[in-house]
Symmetry: C2
Subunit: 196 residues, 2 copies
């Protein structure tokens, strides 16, 4: 399955932050089992921080299914799918492509550049421990969320938080079955029925 | 090994963000193998985003060793260790304790409160998928980095990024053997010799 033919119109965007940018996250280097939990974190962060879609490479496993089940419970139009050929996917991207890496240019400069260039449809590429060298030249921008080794999950979250200027945390996810009631002590969840 | 007797004076803080707050991260629910990679991400994020120390619970494995090796290469005084009794550790914490959870109060309010209260020594508690209920009442504050399910790695990074107002990404890590030279294309790393 490839997704080059998908367009932004296929999505049911959640109102809020995701209106400002149409963000797709491409996770490279996903291998079976070993990376499943990290990829799940990447998917959850993508959704919670305002991205519309996660693209995984490699063979199918439980990650896509579990993200879909979660979206049904917690709402919103987030999509998760696989592509076989990530090189073609990046090459044919109609928009701006950004690779998050500890070796790139400063985060503040990178975000400023995206805003100055009025980027709207953004592909955020994140790797696992090792990424193919060619990704550095395939993308438009290499952006570093700090120059210390840390985590693609963290890099993605902080990048999106800066891009959306914190607004992504206040997004309403439509058609949710569950919703949290913020509280000082303990867990409060409400069950949403017949929202429409 | 318990660390209740450790004090801030035991650390060699990296100059920069970590001067403003003395942050220790406590990772609950670390179990063998299954959580090793996530715990490593938590540790790397703690270090890269200005915390001084990671405390893991549960049995010993490779996580602490790999974090120590990394700190030797990339510099700074970050510490990682185990405690057996995390309840006592939280109860006896001399400072402010914060639990990051999707069920807590709004992040902005929480950070404002920490600043208003002039919190200086902060324990940041993060769980795995499930946390013991009592943690909600053991800590001073439950703070939600958004109310959607995502990742403790992301929650920690965004919390620290907001707390340090982005300055943590510009911390200099002393006695590093390796240092990244930010660049628009590709990987540039310099080897640091005889820094002292």
């Amino acid at each position: 399955m490839t997704t080059e033919k998908s367009t932004a119109e296929d999505f049911d965007p959640s109102p809020g932050a995701s209106e400002k940018y149409d963000v797709t996250v491409l996770r490279l280097g996903h291998r079976l089992v070993r990376d499943e939990r990290i990829s799940t974190h990447v998917g959850l962060v993508s959704r919670a921080f305002g991205a519309k879609r996660l693209i995984l490479t490699g063979a199918d496993d439980h990650t896509v299914d579990s993200l879909r089940r979660l979206s049904t419970r917690w709402g919103g139009g987030f999509q998760a799918e696989y592509v076989k050929n990530w090189r073609d996917f990046v090459r044919h991207w109609q928009g701006t492509s950004v690779h998050l890496t500890m070796y790139g240019e400063d985060l503040r400069n990178g975000i400023d550049r995206l805003k100055k260039d009025k980027a709207r449809k953004i592909l955020v590429v994140i790797g696992a421990e090792k990424v193919p060298k060619e990704i550095y030249t395939l993308v438009d921008l290499n952006i570093a969320v700090g120059n210390q080794p840390h985590s693609e999950v963290a890099a993605l979250a902080v990048f999106l938080d800066r891009l959306f200027m914190g607004e992504e945390l206040y997004t309403t996810f439509g058609n949710a079955r569950l919703r949290v009631k913020p509280s000082l002590r303990g867990k409060k969840v409400e069950f949403v029925k017949n929202e429409n």
